[in-house]
């Protein structure tokens, strides 16, 4: 009697490991499901930090086509700009932007200034004017991209000038936001502000994670074309 029972029991005993593994897998999936919910999915075309940066292709002030894909393997900095915007002037008149550009160039970072102003709007420039601005301001971007249709701007959901993005060598977006922490047009505030973008450059160059990866961009609106 006992023998039959234990035999049947052994047969019937729910496969312990199957159940254990299965249930563990099930509960893990619950957790994974929860985590999937916590992580966000793109509502519309807006860039996400620690996700692949949106690819783009644009013509620079020297007529060359620059695409993000062609720069894979290099760290890329994007700076939305409009030379007549007072927030932009704050950083160029004090030399803050130029020193960041030089620091980036020294670290092998490809710095792209992007102008998304269409013709007739503040900030729109001819290629010649763009080069002249680089010269007179002693700026040191690797290239100035002309984006009069706002395609690159919309791909990055750029809203202000200046607004900064940093993309690591793997093409991952590692910083987006403001150049620093004080949203003003006062030159004095540059010293007092936390230099978010500078910190991001230093971290990425060292291969470290960026502490403040998403910050508030501040400035003038990007003058998108209405057409």
């Amino acid at each position: 009697m006992t023998d039959i029972r234990s035999k049947v029991l052994a047969d019937l005993a729910f496969d312990r490991r199957t159940l254990m593994l299965g249930t563990t897998a099930g509960l893990t999936a619950v957790a994974a499901g929860g985590l999937t919910m916590l992580s966000s999915r793109p509502a519309f075309a807006s860039p996400q930090i620690n996700k692949p940066a949106p690819d783009f292709s644009a013509i620079d002030s020297n007529g060359k086509t620059v695409s993000l894909a062609s720069l894979r393997g290099k760290i890329v900095a994007l700076e939305w700009t409009n030379h007549d915007c007072p927030y932009v002037r704050k950083h160029y008149n004090t030399g803050n932007m130029q020193s960041l550009q030089k620091q980036a160039a020294d670290a092998g970072i490809v710095w792209l200034s992007v102008i998304s102003s269409p013709p007739g709007e503040q900030g729109n420039v001819t290629p010649e004017k763009a080069n002249e601005l680089t010269q007179t301001r002693k700026a040191a971007p690797a290239a100035v991209l002309l984006d009069p249709k706002g395609q690159v701007g919309r791909a990055y959901d750029a809203r202000t000038t200046p607004q900064m993005f940093l993309i690591n060598a793997e093409g991952t977006l590692v910083y987006m936001g403001g150049i620093d922490s004080i949203p003003s047009t006062r030159a004095d505030d540059i010293e007092k502000a936390t230099p978010y973008f500078k910190d991001a450059i230093v971290a990425v160059t060292k291969g470290e994670p960026v502490q403040n990866a998403v910050t508030r961009p501040y400035g003038c609106t990007v003058k998108y074309t209405t057409s």
Partner: protein
Amino acid sequence: MSGMFDRKCWLQTVLWMSTLLALAWGAPAAIALESAATTSPRVTATLISDAATVAPGQTFRVGLRQKLAPKWHTYWKNSGDAGAPPEIRLGLPAGATVSGIIWPGPDRIAAAGPVMSYGYETEIVFPINVTVPRDATPGQNMAITADAEWIVCERECIPEQGSFQLDIPIAETTAPASDDVKAAFAIADARKPMTGPWSSRLVSEGDALALTVVGADLTQAAVKAAYFYPASWGVTDHAAPQQLSLTDGTLTLALAKGQTFNPAAKADGLLAVTDGGGVTRWFEITPTIGGAPAGAAPTASLIENLPLWQTALFAFLGGLILNLMPCVFPVLAIKATAIAKLSGGELREVRLASAFYTLGVLVAFTALAAALLAMRAGGTAVGWGFQFQSPLFVAGMSWLLLAIGLNLSGVFEIGLGVGGTGQSLAQKSGHAGSFFTGLLAVVVATPCTAPFMGAAIGTALTAPVYICLLIFLAMGLGLAAPYALLGIFPSLARALPRPGLWMVRLRQAMAFPMYASAAWLVWVLSQQAGDFGVLIALSGALLVALAAWMYGIAQHDTGRGLLSRGFAAAAIVGTLGLLMQLDGATTPGAAARTEASPGSANYEPFSNARLAALRKEGKPVFVNMTAAWCITCLVNERTTLSTDTIQQAFRERGITYLKGDWTNRDPEIGAYLRSFNRDGLPFYAYYPAGGRDPVVLPPVLTEAIVVGELERANTSASASPSSN
């Protein structure tokens, strides 16, 4: 500077003269109290005071007044995507105290592209409260200076600044300012945020946020438009449209999450409400983050008013009834097998087995409660049965059920490999089996909300943690109860037939409910992830079957069967690879999904807007919230809601049938369910004609129940025609 001096002298002269006049007439006269202006083509700015004379200890207001050229604007404290708020630094005599700027409610200023600013056009005043020193001497002047900086933008932005000075006579009594200055302050007053008398909640789901504001005065008649202005950058995506939905007493705005939304931080701001007359008022709100929406539906208040033991009792009953719900069916099969196992068993063994099963159920319930609470605390709104909204989970679950089915069919065993095990080991494996059966029962059973459970879970998730855990544990005990009874009254187990071949046959038969459930989950997946999901699920099922077969061969081999075991392991790794593929699978649109779902007759997809519109027209509405993974919902639809009888009943009464699909996450439906304090499906509500309060139907429907509710609601309508 000399101009300022002249102005000051002039002012003093006027003041002196008017004081004389006031004395002469015995009444204080209104005097314009406005500083010299700083003027640009864009802004004419002055410093103004709402008191022409001030008394010691009195609190009055000064303000930066800006008259703006057409299309130019300045900014609110959260300027939106561009610009910056004005900064004002006041210089005051010692002993005077000052408030911050009392920010007037802003307007939206849209630019081309995805850019939205919050600010003011035409004319605005930024008021600041100032309290006169108690020891101020009447007859002297109170000198106030202001250094202000602001940025003014149209398409372009210009930073501007101004320095202003006011000398306000100190008198025994106060005198009001001139009509012009009063009119300027009136602009700020009309925009002065009021304290919102409502409770509000901000729930985050993926990239979406749902702001729910509850208050009896938030009716469709009273609210024509609404907009939420967060007090700081990063909470919402300013440029994203905010979709308003209103059911009387509950206002919901669907928002897009900002880049630095932090569920742990406050998300206060202003709710701008525009009434039927086109007048906008701004209300300060500080929404609580996460959890169920504020305010309580009737069911909730009923439960909340119950003593704790009664809530626990309801939870227990809910758990008990959960045993009868269709989605627990596969687990019932496991349980049936397990109970059969106890046949003829020893007392101690039976007790231990039921104890372990109960323990498994309780551990799983506690884990689920903890997971839900953690996600709530994290600001993510999840509903009961939320795990079934993840295609990964559904696919994994269907494979697990297939593997259990194959095990029941005898394709593979694990116990056999260690043949000749002593009784103690068999027992041990039996106990672990009992424990994990309990875990599994809970994981599979959750998408079914039994009657009682909807309200209990709703209460549980808003209650303090210990009450929440108590409710979940009570529910777990309910689910485990039938089996636990065997432990308490082991004589019941003796009533089972003697062990024999029937046990093996039963076990084999029970494999089929497992296969059926696996098939159902593949169908759920087809709703969630389309035909690609089905491909992945079936390929995975193939690999699972292959692995089981290989493993079975290894067990029957005389050797160790390393090759077979290796193949089995490789096949399992393959299924994990497939799971990764599923992660990126796209989901078909909700419209396509509802169109494809069978038995669908004469319904419209649910939306708050549509519901509100129908109710406003006074039409009766029947709302059905369903999901492909909610088998109770599907059974109800097939046996009741889609039948000719019910469809005809709907047509005869002119009822619009709205169906919401919660197969995938949907913040709108989530928020709607929570407005009834529900967290799970099924959910049915009937809104009688004339915009009266909805009736919530039980989760298990029959034609009689539905027709009965429709009749009852209609008779109560004719019995009390005054209610509307």
